[in-house]
């Protein structure tokens, strides 16, 4: 065969081969991405944790620790950390009785605080309230009614609660304390005052009893299934640390020779962008959580619980726009419960238990301000130089497409795409491949 013809045919075959296999892999990739959604979060978290640990591994190696030993140390620290966090999370999850008490007390506290802020003294009296109530009362009352309907115990839960009230501990005291029982009765009164029919809650939750019978069994099954999915996280973490650049090499081996050096440079820039973003995010979480913790302790919240609340708020803060709301809600709810207990030890003498909710909201907003004015610009600099509208739209699009995972990873994905596009465009020009 004529060499020119042979070359032409070879080129044609090559194009067909690459197109067909790219299409197959792309389809398969999208299919796997959609069907294995549950695995994405643990995999990505394992990958990101490994990414954060790479500089630590380098540091260990610089100090003469062999690579294998360094990986083993980091892996053990990672597993111990995961086990500690899981144990704490399980410990924090209230049992059935605590859950009922929490629900009753929360509903009572929300109603109490609402009345206090609106200047309504008595439920029975048809009061005008303060100026705030006169202006917004008509809009706020239906919201409170919905909230009460949501928080009120359903028929099955009420039976359980009343049963628990008649159960006594070894010292002869009822398991459900007197003040919680009072709150429960007050909540029932509130329900009548708001004109909510108890029947409605019963009808709404029909079938709940049946569900309750299988709840215990399904909870165990769910824990096992969740645990087995999350087992993949340490595995991914370990593989990434052991990888030794094989993954990067495999990716680069797919790049045609013409784009080889350009591909290496682009991958390195993206790698650096991800590293900077991750380290920046990690530092921001630590800075926000630490500031929040100090301020929460200052206004009188328990320091142990404050650590957990600050960490939750700090991590949630990574999610643009909505994250800060999560932090605010969690801390405000806890402050509401704490103010009800009435025993706080604030560093600042003018803070009283009654106003703890207000102070907690002030603290969260102050930390948000410090984060936006100081932490973000200092830590990130120009690393995440994205327009707020882009951030907002990306977060919305991410949550619509992939739910919570999409919301969490929308910004890092945008950062990577921006860096990828920027660097590829720049390098293509530098290598005279485009004008």
């Amino acid at each position: 065969m004529d060499p020119a013809e042979f070359k032409k045919q070879r080129r044609k075959r090559s194009i067909i081969y690459h197109t067909v296999f790219s299409a197959i892999f792309l389809t398969l990739g999208v299919y796997l991405l959609i069907s294995l959604q549950a695995l994405i979060l643990p995999m990505v978290l394992g990958f990101l944790a490994a990414y954060l640990c790479m500089p630590l591994l380098d540091m260990l190696r610089r100090n003469g620790v062999p690579k294998g030993a360094g990986i083993l140390i980091l892996f053990l620290v990672f597993v111990i950390l995961i086990m500690f966090i899981s144990r704490e999370v399980v410990r924090l999850i209230p049992d059935e009785q605590e859950m009922l008490e929490l629900q009753v007390n929360l509903q009572y506290q929300i109603n109490e605080q609402y009345r206090a802020y609106m200047g309504i003294e008595d439920l029975a009296e048809d009061e005008d309230g303060n100026l705030l109530y006169q202006v917004f009362g008509e809009e706020l009352d239906p919201m409170m009614s919905t909230l009460n309907r949501f928080l009120m115990l359903d028929e099955y839960e009420r039976e359980q609660f009343e049963e628990l009230r008649n159960t006594y501990d070894h010292e002869g005291n009822p398991i459900i304390s007197n003040h919680t029982w009072r709150h429960y009765q007050q909540n029932l009164e509130e329900l009548n005052y708001l004109g909510i029919d108890e029947e409605m809650i019963e009808v709404q939750d029909e079938g709940e009893e049946e569900a309750e019978a299988t709840r215990e069994h399904s909870l165990i099954a769910e824990i096992i299934s969740v645990a087995s999915i999350w087992l993949i996280m340490p595995v991914v973490f370990l593989f990434m640390l052991v990888d030794d650049g094989r993954l990067k090499k495999s990716l680069i081996s797919l790049v045609p020779n013409t784009y080889f050096e350009m591909g290496l440079t682009a991958l390195d820039n993206v790698d650096r962008a991800i590293g900077n973003y991750l380290r920046g995010t990690f530092m921001e979480v630590v800075a926000v959580a630490a500031t929040l913790w100090i301020l929460l302790v200052m206004i009188g919240l328990d320091w142990g619980i404050s650590i957990i609340l600050s960490l939750i708020a700090g991590i949630a803060n990574v999610i643009p726009f909505f994250g800060s709301v999560v932090g605010l809600v969690v801390i405000a709810l806890y402050a509401l419960m704490e103010s009800h207990m009435g025993e706080i030890n604030p560093w600042l003498p003018f803070i009283q238990a009654d106003h703890l909710l207000l102070w907690s909201v002030v603290v969260v907003m102050l930390v948000q301000l410090i984060d936006n004015v100081y932490f973000k610009p200092v830590i990130f600099g120009s690393v995440v130089d994205l327009h707020p509208l882009v951030v907002f739209l990306a977060a919305i699009a991410g949550s619509v497409m992939f739910g919570f995972i999409g919301l969490l990873f929308a910004i890092p994905v945008i950062v990577v795409l921006k860096e990828l596009y920027g660097t590829i465009h720049r390098e293509l020009k530098a290598y005279f491949l485009i004008y």
């Binding site: 380098d58 090499k249 081996s253 020779n257 050096e261 290598y431 005279f432």
Partner: protein
């Protein structure tokens, strides 16, 4: 001939003692690259840049290498493009050319064990010449950023490589100076 055949058979038997050397498994676990690693060390040992590295240190360097295959007359890089990697000829031949005003100067023909584009390990300044594969060629490439990271994580190895690089560039500068003086004398 007979003894050669016997030796070959013995070698085969020795190889087959390791399960991963069996063609079936070797095919599956290709990514271990047992034999190819040794080939890479052989090539790396011959290169002045790595001659002061121990076998263990060479193993670390080999993890950074990218293996590329080029067709005859395929450009490895072109003049004036930014440099990002140094190349080592593992198999085949590469011609270094300087094309100016449509006139092509052949500067060097590089064979197995020789390297080129080493200045890219220092910065991304444009290539001063082009490199073209002369036959089917396999090259090993080492990327500047990877070497920078190696210098951070394992400064002993990085320091040795950089010192050798400085010596080589110094020697080449001397040679260029001598050639220049000779040209001046002739003129």
């Amino acid at each position: 001939m007979k003894s050669d055949g016997k030796a070959e058979k013995q070698a085969d038997n020795v190889n087959e003692q390791f399960w991963y050397n069996h063609p079936f498994w070797a095919n599956i676990f290709d990514w271990f690259q047992f034999s190819s690693d040794e080939d890479v060390y052989d090539v790396l040992h011959q290169i002045p840049l790595f001659e002061h590295l121990s076998h263990r240190e060479l193993k670390t360097v080999s993890t950074l290498l990218h293996e590329r295959e080029y067709e005859p007359e395929e450009f490895v890089f072109r003049m004036h493009q930014p440099g990002a990697a140094m190349f080592i000829v593992e198999q085949g031949e590469v011609e270094v050319i300087h094309d100016m005003d449509s006139e092509v100067f052949h500067l060097a023909r590089l064979k197995k064990g020789e390297f080129f584009g080493e200045l890219a390990l220092l910065d991304n300044s444009p290539r001063s010449a082009s490199a073209v594969a002369q036959k089917k060629t396999r090259l090993l490439a080492i990327f500047r950023a990877d070497l920078d990271k190696l210098m951070m994580s394992q400064p002993t190895i990085g320091g040795k490589i950089m010192k050798q690089l400085a010596i080589i560039i110094g020697m080449r500068l001397k040679a260029t100076n001598e050639q220049l003086s000779q040209v001046n004398l002739e003129v």
